[in-house]
């Protein structure tokens, strides 16, 4: 077994039940690499997940403490958890694109506003794949899915001049990045930055779904072709380098540790009330 997996993950969950060719494991490994390179132990991280592919594959894999919340609500759960947990514990959430950018977006926005200290890794398989492959809020426009048989024909969160990371930046997030699961070192480095930020961090990580997305939208279930499609649609998020790439990668916004974190703010307020009224 991979020595990193041996160190941090539970044998029961390896290999995962992911489909052949799925890119989710690439993301999972990069997070564990980032944690390892930061020198964190299993006792330092509480790992939370949502549902769907991202939730089901990663829940209960971490050797330390795990939780899986209701669909789209792990951000609210983490708000309460953050206040209750010791300050030095990291909360890492692996969630899907439907969880973060659909059903849970309101809570994500409010966590960004609060600058809650969590690291949200959005494992984005470009739609609702664990239910068989319906379009979602990052499904590329025009592509066919089981619920868009004539092509995805409504605006999504990542094209047409919109970027969901821009909304999160406006909402108050202090670290935002995007990397596909195919990227290596640069993705690990940015996940490390996300974890190190004492505030709201989100890394948007599109990954290939071979079985459902690719099977319908790309007309192939050959991983090598799907991975090639991913590479062709990936762009570095470099100013002055235009492109209509689906996946604009790199650090989108970094204001790490620039403003007070929510649980700290709440604790400070309580301490101040106690000082004044004692």
């Amino acid at each position: 077994m991979d020595p990193l997996a041996e160190k941090y993950l539970r044998p029961r969950k390896i290999p995962s039940t992911a489909c052949s060719g799925c890119g989710l494991g690439q993301i999972h490994k990069k997070i564990v690499m980032a944690i390892d390179e930061l020198g964190l132990g299993i006792e330092d991280v509480v790992w939370g997940t949502g549902i769907g592919c991202a939730g089901r594959q990663t829940f209960g894999a971490w050797k330390g403490d795990n939780f899986a919340g209701t669909h789209g609500r792990v951000y609210a759960i983490s708000t309460g958890l953050r206040v209750a947990l010791p300050r030095d514990k990291k909360i890492v959430l692996t969630v899907g694109d439907g969880d973060a950018f659909g059903i849970g977006l309101l809570h994500v926005l409010h966590c960004a506003r609060r600058n809650l200290d969590v690291t949200v890794i959005v494992c984005d398989n470009l739609g609702y794949q664990s239910t068989g492959g319906q379009y979602g809020w990052t499904t590329p426009e025009g592509y066919k899915t089981d619920s868009s048989p004539y092509g995805m024909n409504e605006p999504n969160w990542v094209q047409g001049g919109r970027d969901v990371l821009g909304i999160l930046r406006e909402a108050g997030a202090t670290f935002l990045a995007r990397h596909t699961s195919l990227e290596g070192r640069e993705a690990v480095e940015d996940i490390k930055k996300a974890i190190q930020n004492r505030g709201f961090s989100l890394v948007h990580m599109p990954f290939p779904c071979i079985t459902n997305f690719a099977g319908r939208a790309l007309g192939t279930r050959k991983p090598v072709e799907v991975y090639r499609w991913f590479k062709e649609h990936t762009d570095g998020n470099v100013p002055g380098k235009p492109g209509d790439a689906l996946f604009k990668c790199g650090v989108y916004f970094d204001a790490s540790n620039s403003r007070v974190e929510y649980s700290e703010l709440v604790r400070n307020n309580v301490a101040e009330v106690q000082r004044r009224y004692r």
Binding site: D65, N66, R73, G80
Partner: protein
Amino acid sequence: MKRVLETGNAAITEGAIAAGCRVFAGYPITPATEIAENMSRRLPQVGGYYLQAEDELAAMHIAVGSSLGGLKAMTATSGPGFILYADPYGWALGSEIPVVVVNAQRVGPVSGITGAPGQGEFYFSRYPTQGGNFETIVLAPASVQEALNLTVEAFYLAERFRMPVTLLADQLVTDGWESLSVPETPDDVAAMGLRVLPRRIHSGPEFYPASDEIDVPPVVLGHNTGAACSDWTPTEQGYDTEEVEAQHKHAYRLIYKVRNHRDLLRRYEAYYLDDNPEVVLVSYGSPARVAKSAVKRARERGLKVGGIRLIGLWPFPEELFTLPAKYLSVELNNDGQLVREVQRAVPKGSAVHFFGKCGELPTVAELQRMIDALLSGEPLPANRWEWEAW
């Protein structure tokens, strides 16, 4: 101990603090807003956290998340918010996370009348989420003092049974002002006969035992116990599974940890039942106080009438209904909810009747007319809203 003139909302706040609640997450809603306001003032004074949520879905998830982190937590709302609790309520039931939920019932459906009392969530509080395979614990206060006492008790039961406990109040109880004894020290709490259980932490690895036992410490994250808790059917170690056998074990636990300890949950006030009264009034919450006045008045007139005030609503104490009689369910709704449970529980030879009002209490005179008609066999007076030309 201090004696004050206060509202039920303040009583619930003080009860929660006495019980060790250190997180309140809420969203403003009439008539429960004052609980949030009181908590925002009182919690910081005792080192606790008031967290205002973006909606009720978030409010209860935050409360449950805090509890999962080891702090006792509460949320409070009214009917339109209570329905949004369905999602986190199910999660807390399935993952066995202690939390206290207050519902100050108002007139429905939907937004209804915001500042008037109703009792529309009797059944909803039994099934506050989807999926079945669970029992719930619901307590109903009828006075300001009882609101405090039952809040403390709700926290105690939540810890023992590892589950959400609902305090099903109504607007008259939460907004009403009455004299109230507030415990200020642990000694006061004990002197008032109230019980407080500190949070314990499950050390694993059998986080979800396949048994009906209570007093199992709950899962608490952040202590590196290797805890796993999720929204899926758990194995005994907390892993998600789709095995039917694991589902049976989990369902057995969620149902029978409550059913097999019903004696710990039976709470009621029975009066004038010793001489086999012909008519028995059944009620809970604020209308139960009018019902008691009506029974007392009937007794003054020499009529054989008794009463039962339910305090523990769920699990429903059907074993109380052993006496064959004409029962009259008095409720703050027009459709009759409690009446159906009473019908199910009464022995042969009984009849169950219904008197409902909504938005305001019944009067003693109205209940007397019902009692007189039941005793004499005359046709029952119709509800007022049935008399009016529509």
